[in-house]
Symmetry: C2
Subunit: 289 residues, 2 copies
């Protein structure tokens, strides 16, 4: 069966998107689509251009014997701002405020579209660090950590609150919750990670940083190096957190329960980073028009 | 900025894939890609053909004022068999056996590729039932339930083992674990679902069916109708489960600890269903070649 160019291009795009950050060889596409490698190579140029013009991720060519192409999801500054502002607006809804000044967040943390957006933001920040695993602790951050792992094409590791018989032998640690000051427990199966790995940690919310500190301590037990910690929402108080070197995407300044007011905004530092795609087209692409 | 046809087709494919089961209008693409609606319409025919020839999901045209097109992920029988056999093979690895005859499964339940495959299988079975929510209980089944929700474009609901202050007011129920016979507890925020919804339940493992029964009871509290229950692995013993009307994808017959042997296979009933895409091309498509 033969495919027309535009049909081939759409099928190649589908396969690249379904396997982010995975190297797919030209021979693979050449066989699947019954086309010469030179044609597939031309198809790739078209896809590369379409993505780059649209600022929607990029195609990287990997040379060598195991070479091929891979699709790297990328969140441009404009995309990042749009997603974070949408979440901030939602979190300002007065009926989210729970007695005690907490915010109801599960609908956001389980929204397939928003989670994918935030995961692309984290993947853009973490891709160059080349982590071996994406680590989180149950429960609310799991979809976000899973989608970040998917974008980076790395395995997900979930630390549990209690160990289960189906985890086999586990490592358990105690840690102090930053918000409640209570001693809590977390555990992780010994099989979950190879030793001396490099990891990024994802969590949905940081107040005192106790849980994040617990996860860092757990990683020490596996001799793992924590490259970075990505947090969706950070509260401004307490100012002193139990961890440093984390990236919060949204800053929650205050919840004024009696007035139904929530002060939250995207972290301006998120946009300062070098290397994140700008929204304008680079000159060489414009010149092609 | 203008795009060539093949560039347009690749960008439309990307957007459709990133929004499974969501209606996107021709006007939307026409604006984004700066092209006439008639051109976009032709692009859609190309994408439709490419997907249908490859048996990799389909494009549905939705008529009317809110009309447009949507991409529906579909797992063909061959795709279903490939994914399930790969998981069965992995579960047969002797070093997964944990003392007591349990199997270590987190690496499979958190594998982005396998989870997406299984989610596509469940989405294919559940799409026509038109559920309002995909429901699961923490923890191991969360990525699978999330990806099923993503494929169906429906919100995910996660039942917790214990209620958290950030859940606001919750409904809690006690249930009897089918495997241990112990009384366990689960809770769900009152805000998590609108009442009288239609739901599908996803779980990773079923032994006695106690947890699934607990989830069904929880759904009663929300006046929800349970359309179906999708389970990745079911054990053959006990024969009597606490729920009926569930779909297991893999059958775990026996774990012989001393011999390191695991008897597990894809559920033959999974392939019997009407309406699941066959692997051969339908005649009308072949005729187009």
């Amino acid at each position: 069966m033969k495919f027309k160019r535009s049909e081939r291009v759409s099928r190649i795009m589908k396969e690249l998107l379904e396997h982010p950050n995975e190297i797919l060889t030209l021979s693979h596409f050449s066989q699947r689509l019954n086309a010469a490698k030179s044609s597939i190579s031309e198809d790739m140029v078209i896809i590369k251009n379409a993505l780059e013009k649209a600022r929607e991720g990029r195609i990287k060519t990997v040379a060598g014997a195991a070479g091929g192409v891979k699709y790297i999801p990328e969140a441009s500054k404009e995309y990042t701002r749009r997603i974070l502002e949408e979440i901030a607006e939602k979190l300002k809804e007065p009926d989210r405020i729970i007695s005690g000044g907490f915010l109801y967040m599960p609908d956001i943390m389980y929204s397939t579209r928003l989670v994918e957006g935030v995961a692309n933001i984290f993947a853009t920040k973490f891709e160059k660090m080349e982590p071996d695993y994406v680590v989180t602790v149950e429960t609310k951050g799991i979809p976000l950590a899973f989608m970040t792992a998917r974008a980076l094409n790395k395995p997900l590791v979930i630390i549990r609150r209690e160990s289960k018989v189906t985890d086999g032998s586990t490592v358990s640690i105690n840690y102090i919750s930053g918000s409640t000051g209570k001693i809590e427990r977390m555990s992780l199966s010994r099989r979950a990670m190879k030793p001396k790995a490099k990891v990024v940690i994802i969590d949905d919310f940081m107040k005192g940083g106790g849980t994040a500190k617990g996860m860092k301590d757990m990683m020490k037990e596996f001799e793992a190096e924590v490259l970075s910690i990505g947090v969706l929402v950070e509260t401004t108080t307490p100012v002193e957190k139990r961890v440093k070197d984390y990236i919060p995407l949204l800053i929650l300044e205050e919840v004024i329960e009696e007035r139904g007011e929530v002060k939250i905004y995207p972290n301006p530092r998120v946009f300062e980073e070098e290397g994140q795609p700008e929204d304008q087209l680079p000159e060489e692409l414009e010149a092609q028009e």
